[in-house]
């Protein structure tokens, strides 16, 4: 019989590290080795487990035994008693169990999750999202019940405000203040909206959250409704998310069937129900006023604020609108309290943030880290670094309107202020890692092409200005850039930033401005030397056949314009005047004989 392998998780959150957790790890190895258990045991580091006051924390699996206040002196005892003799050290065991810890019972040992902390995604990946019982069994709807039973609406608002939670949709407006403003309004009816119109290309935080744990959103919204005095919630979700729609729909129906939505929730005087509205997939409808217009049946275009939705929102009524991830935080804030929530994150940004990690990293995926985690930790520890031995070049945070940050900003901690200071934005959570093969001018063009395409067309700076910026960028990447182009980009970009009507317009120039700021020399090379160092701009490169050519003729046959000539079994050549830089020959050659120059 093979003995059960052990997995030990050592909390690697900042607080535990400060209390000496890393020394424990070394000692642990030593002790395991001594008892001949090292082969059978893996040691994993976890992100903050949220029990900082009881740190350092150590978890032994199987069994999920949590040890708190562990000192170096305790290690031999734990190894000997627990691992060897199978007698958990009772005096060190703590019963603390936060909602999100359950996730790490399943996942806490993987390196990918080492720096992570699952608060909003606490149930994502461990429950059946279509089974309300799964959610209920993990203290589901207890926060709602607690709010209704033990708290006045004002106390709920106080708690949210005290938690320091800020809007996760991008702008980072203090959630509690938003709630208070809406709660203060006397007009009725009031509305509660969940903004699930996730539009950033490559972003799937909200979709995954709803697909993985829809009840959290329903519960969060119901708490919001209780706090501000609303009985009507709307989930605005894009029609391209059929599974998420199906699951949130089922969650709403199941909640109704259990008396958790509808009239007199859980026998109380509080009534609240939720309807679903589908968006047609316009990026701009993620902007709150445009989203409200869309629900009203009008064209999705932002309107100037003030008045803010808190005062005059859906159908002119006070409206509390929050993003999916913000809503997902609410049950945790209520259940575990603001005092606990406040311990996670940085001075100005509390809690965790979900990111869709994409681009040139080994582990692409959906991650949730405490605020304050650095970009370097995310990219190298969670993401596993850059694949294929390539060099890191830049990371773009905040979706298509975020900025591209170079290596020197890698130690920037993730929070609203630090990212803004570095020249990017938190955004809703897109994070794209860029390696040396990417041309920064081309990247800027790519992102701007998206925002330009998705501009609602209402305000002049965004509609006309981004078009002109895009024209200049296209010109530069095609080798037709001219002196003054960079200055014109900066001029237009800063004007749009300061003048556009909505946040989307105001942030649209970010990729361009940040790449000019951080990679200006690449722009200058494109314009002055007609050179693309990443060899990504097809108009600025040419293809040459080198000595590795064996004359197989494959490139000659695929060339659509007949630019390649050569006799069989002799080295071929490319007529540069005829070549249209399509790259087919390059991709076809099996002998790496064709080079981009």
């Amino acid at each position: 019989m093979t003995a059960t392998p052990f997995r030990i998780i050592v909390c690697d959150g900042t607080s535990c590290i400060n209390k000496g957790s890393r020394k424990l790890t070394a000692l642990l190895r030593e002790q395991l080795d001594k008892h001949g258990l090292i082969e059978r045991t893996t040691i994993g580091l976890s992100g903050c487990l949220g029990m900082c006051d009881k740190g350092p924390i150590l978890v032994v699996n199987p069994g999920y035994t949590i040890y708190g206040h562990v000192t170096e002196a305790d290690i031999p005892e734990i190894v000997e008693e627990h691992l060897v003799n199978n007698r958990p050290v009772a005096r060190l065991v703590i019963q603390e169990d936060h909602l999100y810890n359950r996730f790490f019972r399943v996942f806490g040992d993987a390196k990918f999750f080492g720096k992570q902390m699952r608060v909003t995604l606490r149930n994502c990946g461990i429950i059946d999202p279509e089974n309300i019982d799964d959610y209920l069994s993990l203290r589901g709807y207890e926060a709602l019940a607690k709010a209704i039973t033990e708290m006045t609406p004002e106390q709920v608002v106080d708690e949210v405000e005290k938690s320091g939670l800020r809007g996760r949709g991008g702008a980072g407006f203090p959630t509690g203040r938003k709630w208070r403003l809406t709660a203060k309004e006397k007009t009725t009816p009031k509305y509660v909206i969940c903004n699930a119109d996730e539009g950033d290309p490559g972003a799937f935080m909200d979709r995954s959250a709803i697909e993985g744990d829809p009840h959290t959103i329903v519960e969060g919204m119901a708490i919001g409704g209780y706090a501000i005095g609303s009985d009507h919630g709307v989930v605005y979700i894009r029609a391209e998310y059929p599974l998420a729609i199906k699951r949130i729909q089922k969650a709403i129906e199941d909640a109704r069937a259990h008396g958790l939505l509808g009239k007199n929730i859980l026998g109380s005087n509080f009534s609240f129900d939720i309807e679903i509205r589908l968006g047609a997939g316009a990026f701009v409808c993620g902007e709150e006023t445009a989203l409200i217009h869309s629900i009203e049946g009008a064209r999705g275009m932002p309107r100037p604020r003030p008045p803010y939705p808190a005062v005059s929102g859906l159908f002119g009524k006070p409206t509390l609108i929050n993003n999916v991830e913000t809503w997902a935080n609410i049950p945790v804030v209520i259940l575990d309290g603001a005092n606990w929530f406040k311990t996670i994150g940085t001075e100005t940004s509390k809690g965790t943030k979900v990111f869709a990690l994409a681009g040139k990293v080994v582990n692409t995926g959906l991650i949730e880290v405490p605020m304050g985690t650095t970009l370097r930790e995310i990219i190298y520890d969670v993401g596993g670094g850059i694949p294929h031995g390539k060099r890191f070049k830049s990371v773009q945070t905040g979706g298509p309107s975020g900025g591209c940050l170079p290596e020197k900003y890698l130690d920037t901690p993730i929070d609203y202020e630090s990212l803004a200071k570095a020249g990017s934005i938190m955004g809703s959570g897109g994070m794209i890692v860029i390696d040396e093969d990417a041309c920064m001018v081309d990247m800027a063009r790519f992102f701007l092409e998206f925002t330009q395409d998705e501009s609602c067309g209402k305000c002049t700076p965004c509609r006309e200005g981004t078009k002109r910026m895009l024209e200049i960028l296209i010109r530069i990447t095609e080798g037709k850039g001219k002196p003054g182009d960079i200055e014109n980009l900066e001029r237009l970009g800063s004007m749009i930033k300061k003048s556009a009507l909505c946040g989307l317009g105001q942030s649209a120039p970010n990729p361009v401005l940040s790449t000019i700021k951080n990679f200006r020399e690449e722009y200058e090379e494109h314009i002055n030397e007609k050179k693309c160092r990443a060899k990504a701009c097809k108009h600025l490169i040419s293809y040459e056949i080198g000595d590795k050519c064996i004359g197989c003729g494959a490139c000659r046959r695929v060339c659509p314009v007949g630019a390649i000539s050569g006799s069989p079994k002799t080295k071929h050549s490319i007529d540069k005047d005829k070549c249209i830089h399509c790259g087919l020959c390059f991709n076809t050659c099996k002998f790496e004989a064709i080079a981009k120059v």
Binding site: D109, I126, I127, S137, A145, G365
Partner: protein
């Protein structure tokens, strides 16, 4: 009249017993990732393989779906949780791997190391 908080605790107890009634305390639980991204990567086929096996007599297995755990590059993912053991997560599971997980892991207790995510 019970308070909402008392009511919800009762509801939780009921939910737990319903889950147990469905076989949650089986010696093996299998979770198949069924978010859009997982489905796009082929998890529906994987789910079918497990469902078929269960309907054809793979007893003592509690089969469930789950949302996205974030391992995009390794999807579809499948977790096997056995009482008293650390959970095992498999990545890039296709129909063939699913069949082998059934045969080798669920039936014979072998952890197929090369597919395990860690």
């Amino acid at each position: 009249m019970p308070t909402p908080l008392e009511l919800i605790k009762k509801k939780r107890a009921e939910a737990v017993s319903r889950i147990i009634g469905k076989g949650y305390l089986s010696t093996k639980r299998v979770y198949v990732g069924m978010a859009t991204c997982e489905i796009a990567a082929g998890s529906k086929d994987v789910m079918e393989v497990f469902q078929k096996a269960v309907s054809r007599g793979l007893t003592d297995v509690y089969l469930s779906q789950k949302g996205c755990a974030g391992r995009c590059n390794l999807e579809p993912t499948v977790e096997v949780i056995e009482a008293g053991k650390s959970p095992v997560k498999y990545g890039k599971v296709d129909k063939d791997r699913a069949q082998q997980i059934i045969e080798r892991h669920l039936k014979n207790g072998e952890i197929i190391k090369e597919w395990v995510i860690d």
